[in-house]
Amino acid sequence: MTSFIQNQQGDTANFFVKGDFVQSNTNGLRQALLDSIKNGITKIKIDLNEANCIDSPSIGLLVSVHNTLKPLAGELVVNRAKQPIAELFSVLQLDKRFTVNAS
C-alpha cells in the first residue's frame, strides 16, 4: 500500500499523501520529490486532504522542497490542508514562505 500517489502534468508534479503526513508514512517521498525536480519539474503540489496529523521531519521536508525550488524559480503549493495543520502553518508563518491552501 503506497503512502502517496504521484502523477505528473507538464511541469507540475502532484503528490497525494494517503493518510497522515508523518515520517513513518512517507517512505520514499523525499526521493520521489528530488527525482521529480531533477527531471525538470518546477512546480510541486502536495495534497494533504487525508492528513490529520503532521510531524517535525515532514515540516522539515516541506521546507527543504521550498529551499530547493526557490533558486530554480519554482514553486511549492500545499493543498487541502485540514484545519489544525493549516493553522499550524499559519502560526509558524510558513504560509508566508510557500502557498498553503486550506481544506
Binding site: 493518510g19 503549493v77 502557498t99
Partner: protein, 160 residues
C-alpha cells in the same frame, strides 16, 4: 499563486474487479485496502452484509459488493480484498474479488451507463469511462450503501 482549474476535473480512481467486471471508486473516498481478516457475522442483518470487522479499533461494516451488483454466490479467494471507503462520516468495507490499478480520471470523460448493462449494476453507477482498453464502471457509493427505510419503495414509486 496561479489558479488551478485542472484540479477540479482531474482526479484518481481506484479500480477493482467484481464478478469479472471492472469498477472504480474515486480515491478521495477510499481510505485504504486491506486483506480479509476475521469477519464476525451479524445475525439478522441484511443479506448483503457479510458482517463486521475490527480495523485498528474501529468497527467497520463489511458489504458484499458482489451481492449488491447482482451476484448470488460469493467466493472468497486469495485475491479478495476489502476496500475501506468513507461514507456518511463512517467507514464501510467493500468486498471485492481483486484489486486493480489506480488510474487518472477526468470528469469530462464520464459517459452514461450503456443500454445493455443489467439494471443490477447500472443502478449502482455514476457512469462509465475508459481507461486504456478497459471500460470502468464508476461506483456511486450512495446508491450502493443507502438503505434508508422506504428506499426501495421510493425507488419503485420514483420509477413508475
Amino acid at each position: 499563486m496561479e489558479e488551478n482549474n485542472d484540479e477540479v476535473t482531474q482526479s484518481l480512481v481506484a479500480t477493482f474487479i467484481v464478478d469479472d467486471r471492472h469498477y472504480g471508486l474515486t480515491t478521495a473516498r477510499v481510505r485504504e485496502v486491506v486483506r480479509i481478516g476475521e469477519i464476525t457475522p451479524v445475525h439478522h442483518s441484511p443479506e448483503f452484509i457479510l458482517g463486521i470487522m475490527n480495523l485498528r479499533g474501529r468497527i467497520v461494516t463489511v458489504v458484499d459488493l458482489g451481492r449488491k451488483l447482482g451476484r448470488n454466490n460469493q467466493a472468497l479467494t486469495g485475491h479478495s480484498r476489502i476496500f475501506i471507503a468513507e461514507w456518511q462520516q463512517e467507514h464501510v468495507g467493500l468486498l471485492v474479488d481483486r484489486v486493480g490499478e489506480v488510474v487518472p480520471f477526468d470528469e469530462t470523460e464520464l459517459r452514461p451507463v450503456p443500454e445493455n448493462m443489467p439494471t443490477a449494476q447500472a443502478g449502482m453507477l455514476h457512469g462509465v469511462f475508459h481507461s486504456g482498453k478497459l471500460l470502468i464502471g464508476l461506483l456511486n457509493l450512495d446508491l450502493i450503501l443507502d438503505d434508508a427505510p422506504g428506499k426501495e419503495d421510493r425507488q419503485k414509486a420514483g420509477g413508475e
